[in-house]
């Protein structure tokens, strides 16, 4: 596998690793909606097909909040590649998201 989506900014670091992302949102709140569109955009742009994004509505699975130690929402958890990272907010700070995902230069 592993054809690299050699798009502009994304450098080689990604290689074989597939990104496993989970985004926790609260229904259709404005922050949630923004976060969903922002992360989708980033993923499409920088990870193309090399990712899985699961969007979870915490309202629907309330006990997951305790299990995943969720406090602030929206919350994005990068389970893979390690190390695990958490991002909270509506993902509007693209540079920061990219940097922490290890996608920026």
């Amino acid at each position: 596998m592993n054809e690299l989506p050699n798009t502009s900014g994304a450098k080689t670091a990604i290689e074989s690793e597939r990104f496993v992302l989970r985004l926790f949102v609260t229904g259709a709140s404005s922050n949630s909606v923004r976060a969903i569109s922002n992360i989708k955009e980033i993923c499409e742009k920088y990870l193309t097909d090399n990712y899985s994004l699961e969007i979870i509505d915490v309202y629907q699975q309330k006990d997951i909040a305790e299990k995943e130690q969720i406090i602030a929402l929206p919350l994005l958890i990068k389970n893979f590649p390690l190390p695990e990272r958490r991002f909270m907010g509506d993902m509007s700070d693209t540079d920061r998201v990219l940097k922490e995902l290890g996608l920026s230069s």
Binding site: A65, I70, I71, A72, R85, F87, D93, R96, E100
Partner: protein
């Protein structure tokens, strides 16, 4: 009739409903508990007992009031909490299994988290809401929510969200405790009191003279009357106990029932019946005058009557007191065995005055004694100033009198002069004051006892000699001789002297009686001889009288004969 509508109006006034905490004493101060369905802020420095306070609120709610509770911990893990409070006998695991308590540990690792724009704290809302709904919680604790400020950088969001959270909790109608670390000059480091405006309780842990005291103060309680003092509290194996320190009024019940002091001769000095039930008695005296013995007797007497007694010993160990009392014929051990007598021995320096007061309160409420003995109060001075000791004792007397418990204090006076005041200045507070005093005379030291005062009863104004012997305590009349008060062997010598003089007097009386007898006998014999004399004189006189008569009759006969003879011769 006109008062009818007014009366109705009064009835419709709705008081703030309260949620009882179950914490000993706190519900008294707050007049029923924390505001129901509203948030309460508990603040204080590190180690002042905030978490424990909150935990006890939850556990007592579950156990005593059947109100399930959620404990959201931002600091300690659930397992740590469980272990920490297990020492107080709270079985959190069982309570969680019973669905009475839910622990949720909120964990934020700053280094793992990135802020990438706008967010809110819905996660907490959802978690909390879910926890509340899952067990039907009525009580919630957030311990310590201020940790959010350390974990998240966007303060504006946190503040807005906290405001929303507290409003939401109010809407949920759960009684909430929020704990907060005390900041510099403010109640909490991040100004939580701004959001929680209903009730604020401040905990403090103060160390003075190397002795620590925990204090609690209700800073604010909107919509309710509350005590405003700093109340000392105690954390022990049963959790927190707060002491409502001073009764403001002096309207406690009084009793006319009398209780014996255990020393019959002392009772006689107190109008024949002893102390009033529920009164306070001070026994003061110099070292070694038998204060503890009097206290021991009183304890023994109480137990003999079937009453309960707590003996707070600040100087000697219980075993020591029992042994010493045995030497004057008082067996306290039997009362301990039968559960009527309880010793509580501690050094005064063990904790602060307030703490002593709290522990006395606690024990008294548990044990329900008729008599309490504090032996001696003098040592309390080492942990507080005179005025502090005095206030403490006022509170103690207040409390005990309201419970109709007779209390006996012993106090050491340091000099031999009869002071108008004892060192603790409590002599004006007590109802009866017995003073035991050394009387040094004739090369020996004896004890004299006075009843300095005894309110509301006739009492002896005399000094009695206080004798401690193998048979026990006794009071004997002292001898008031020309040289003053005689005690001990001088008194004994005086007594012997009196016996001697009695014998001599008896002897003198016998001699006088004999003299009189003798005189009587002389008199009687004189009377007899005079009578004899009289008789002989009378005989003499009678004799001559009869002779005269005889002579006269003979003469008459002779004359008649002569006459007859002459006639016949014619």
């Amino acid at each position: 009739m006109s008062s009818e509508p007014r009366h109705n109006l009064n009835r419709t006034v709705k008081l703030l409903p309260k949620s009882p905490t179950g914490i000993l004493g706190l519900d008294k101060i707050t007049d029923g508990g924390l505001p129901l369905g509203r948030p309460t802020l508990i603040c204080g420095g590190a180690g002042c007992g905030k978490t424990l306070f909150a935990m006890e609120f939850i556990v007592r709610g579950a156990l005593e009031f059947n109100e399930p509770g959620v404990f959201m911990a931002f600091e300690e893990k659930a397992e740590e909490l469980t272990v920490n409070v297990a020492s107080l006998g709270f079985d959190l695991e069982q309570l969680q299994a019973d669905k009475m308590i839910k622990l949720d540990h909120v964990y934020i690792e700053r280094s793992e988290i990135e802020e990438t724009g706008e967010y809110d704290l819905d996660g907490i809302f959802i978690r909390l809401g879910h926890a509340i709904d899952s067990i039907g919680a009525k009580r919630v604790v957030l311990d310590t929510i201020e940790n959010l400020f350390a974990s998240l950088s966007n303060q504006a969001i946190i503040r807005a969200e906290l405001r929303r959270l507290f409003q939401w909790l109010k809407d949920k109608n759960v009684t909430t405790i929020i704990t907060g670390e005390k900041g510099d000059g403010t109640f909490t480091r991040h100004g939580l009191e701004e959001y929680v405006s209903d009730c604020v309780i401040l905990l403090d842990h103060r160390v003075a003279n190397q002795i620590s005291t925990r204090l609690l103060r209700i800073v604010k309680y909107r919509g309710s009357y509350h005590g405003t003092n700093e109340y000392p509290f105690l954390i022990d194996k049963d959790g927190i106990s707060v002491l409502p320190v001073t009764a403001l009024t002096l309207d406690h019940e009084v009793s006319t029932v009398r209780v014996s002091s255990g020393i019959p001769s002392l009772d006689r000095m107190l109008g024949g019946q002893g102390f009033f039930k529920g009164s306070s008695v001070l026994v003061s005296g110099t070292a070694g005058t038998g204060k503890t013995s009097i206290a021991g007797y009183f304890a023994n007497e109480t137990c003999n009557r079937g009453g309960r007694c707590i003996y707070f010993a600040f100087e000697e160990s219980p075993k020591q007191i029992i042994r010493n009392m045995l030497s004057i014929g008082v067996t306290l051990q039997q009362h301990i065995d039968s559960g009527l007598l309880k010793f509580h021995a501690s050094r005064p320096t063990l904790n602060g005055l307030e703490m002593h007061l709290v522990s006395i309160h606690k024990l008294v409420e548990e044990f329900k004694p008729q008599t309490v003995i504090l032996d001696p109060i003098t040592n309390l001075i080492t942990v507080g100033s005179v005025s502090e000791v005095k206030t403490m004792l006022i509170r103690l007397i207040d409390f005990l009198q309201s419970e109709q418990i007779t209390v006996m204090f012993t106090a050491l006076t340091l000099n031999n002069i009869v002071n108008e005041q004892t060192d603790e200045g409590v002599s004006s507070l007590v109802d009866a004051w017995l003073l035991v005093r050394d009387i040094e005379f004739n090369g020996e030291r004896n004890r004299g006892m006075y009843v300095m005062k005894s309110r509301g009863m006739k009492h002896s104004n005399q000094v009695r000699e206080f004798v401690i012997s193998d048979e026990g305590l006794n009071l004997v009349d002292v001898y008031l001789g020309p040289e003053g008060v005689l005690t001990g062997s001088a008194r004994e010598a005086q007594r012997l002297q009196e016996v001697t003089s009695d014998v001599l007097k008896d002897h003198a009386i016998t001699r006088k009686d004999m003299e009189i007898n003798r005189k009587r006998k002389v008199l009687e014999s004189k009377i007899a001889s005079l009578k004899e004399e009289f008789d002989s004189v009378q005989d003499e006189l009678n004799k001559s009288y009869i002779e005269d008569q005889l002579r006269k009759s003979v003469v008459d006969q002779n004359r008649e004969q002569l006459t007859r003879n002459r006639h016949s011769g014619e």
